[in-house]
Point group: C2
Chain length 162, copies 2
């Protein structure tokens, strides 16, 4: 290659790098979005976290997309989820009234999306969104630290309610 | 009509009556079945009934078919549901563990199905099924008596969790 050819190639490489979004360059930090259709996904289960120290205090409704459901419902112990598998947990205030516990106003939605490239966070990306759907800054490492307790189930806590 | 013709017609009428299932003949008492696919219906909301006297003690997951969802999600106050609209509520034992309240083993599934012919029970039919899906004898009148508290919403208690 002539010197000018090498320079052109180097310039093209720099331009290609600059054209890549900062999020994509950052690797594991690429943000997840809140799927618009998750409320019509299959409901996995619900639960109430009553311990204020647990960090996830609230009434939880868990939803899964088709890719996640296939693995979740398979009886293969510890099966790894395929890329694209997603869970959304809607978290609401806990309201106690007249002998019932119900979900109050929404606090946030959290997303767990499988991406084997996210090695630092166990092959999953995490995102949090306020009640209006706006991303909340949250360290995926802290999500991963907790989900590591379920590393024998590919970092997924939930189980399907038959 | 000749006498033999009249007798034939009468016999045909009796045979037609006998061919009709007893359930269909009973009118309002026609039983509802447990829809096989309800676990892939859209999840409406969950709640926990903690009052043992309430009669519906348990962790409730509510699902709706498409016909029911359309009316439930419409903003028309008191809109009547169309025939065929259905809700299923899966009721589980309430388990408290480590700062959480979760659904334990299933107690039963209950069905509320719109049928305007069921006049005596507010235009809805009701059914209850044990954890194995076997019908439980239950008086639809008692279901209706309670659901009448929501007569301004066509006897539907639940609201969609956004």
């Amino acid at each position: 290659m002539a010197p000018t050819g090498r320079i052109s190639a180097a310039v093209a490489l720099v331009l290609a790098f600059l054209a890549t979004s900062p999020a994509a360059r950052a690797g594991d930090e690429r943000p997840v979005s809140l799927p618009t259709s998750f409320r019509s996904w299959v409901h996995v289960r619900s639960m109430v976290v009553t311990d204020a120290d647990a960090g996830m205090l609230g009434f939880h409704d868990v939803y899964a997309n088709e890719l996640a459901l296939e693995t979740l419902r398979s009886k293969v112990k510890g099966a790894a989820y395929p890329d694209g598998a997603q869970f959304v947990v809607s978290i609401f205030e806990v309201k106690q009234e007249k002998g019932t516990i119900v979900a109050g106003p929404k606090l946030r939605d959290v997303v767990q999306r499988k991406d084997r490239k996210a090695v630092a966070t166990g092959g999953w990306r995490y995102g949090s969104f306020d009640a209006a759907g706006k991303p909340i800054a949250k360290d995926a490492a802290s999500c991963h630290a907790c989900h590591s307790q379920a590393s024998d189930r590919d970092h997924v806590f939930t189980e399907f309610a038959q």
